[in-house]
Symmetry: C2
Subunit: 150 residues, 2 copies
């Protein structure tokens, strides 16, 4: 197995095609990691969620980490790690263009809206079902690619 | 799609069969998440790594979060999230039994030793290649199972 570092453009290309990964946030040094769907556009990852622990924590501490990988076998895989910052895209004229991008890109993914809604509807919660749109500003990205071979 | 909460024993069963997930740690409220192999035994997840950012961060802040999932389709998936604490298993008589468990269980996984070693060997690093064995003490576990249906 040969492991090579990926260039920044290779990492962004993987993020663009993956669309699924894990988002880690932290509150008072307790990390929390959940699966999430996203769309990569430029140096941002766009996504959304209904109000819950993840959004509350990212509002209070915007530092996040995203990991995505494609594992073909134990000898052939790609893994990319992003350090970034949570930026909420609230309703209103200031961020309307970014919200449109988030919605346009996310709507291309079939079932894009289901996990967040159903998870929230399932909980007996007074939280709003309105989606919270956000993006992760990519500060640093690194990736490794493993291929079989000597 | 119907989403159901899983019982603690169902969560532990999934952790026992999965053996692969993502481990999130945090330093000064910056989260960091990486893929990792583990073995679940009782209320602990056993794993190892060579010395690097992950081990350094968990030594300074033992609070961690582990996520593992099995995704069959957008309507059929299982996801389990663990909140726990990092416990290093140093060499010496005190933790020798736990180290044995970690090594026994991990050795059953083919290629179990490759990712950590190769990742370290690839870096031009002065860090030791000796494995650091550790376990995650499971404080809380929760899980959700999605099945197709009304």
């Amino acid at each position: 197995m040969v492991i090579q570092e990926m260039s920044e453009s290779e990492c962004l290309e993987l993020l663009g095609s993956a669309g699924f990964g894990r988002l880690a946030c932290a509150s008072e040094n307790q990390p929390y990691v959940v699966p999430f769907y996203f769309a990569c556009r430029g140096s941002y990852l766009y996504s959304f969620a209904t109000l819950g622990q993840k959004i509350r924590w990212m509002r209070s501490n915007p530092l996040v980490c995203v990991e995505t990988d494609v594992v073909y076998s134990s000898q052939e895989w790609v893994s990319v790690i992003v350090s970034g910052r949570y930026e909420e895209l609230p309703e209103g004229p200031e961020r309307s263009r970014e919200r449109e991008i988030a919605q346009e890109v996310l709507q291309r993914r079939s079932m894009w809206w289901q996990p967040a809604y159903v998870a929230t509807a399932h909980r007996e919660s007074a939280d709003s079902l309105d989606p919270v749109f956000f993006r992760i500003s990519i500060d640093r990205v690194s990736g490794h690619r493993a291929t079989p071979g000597s």
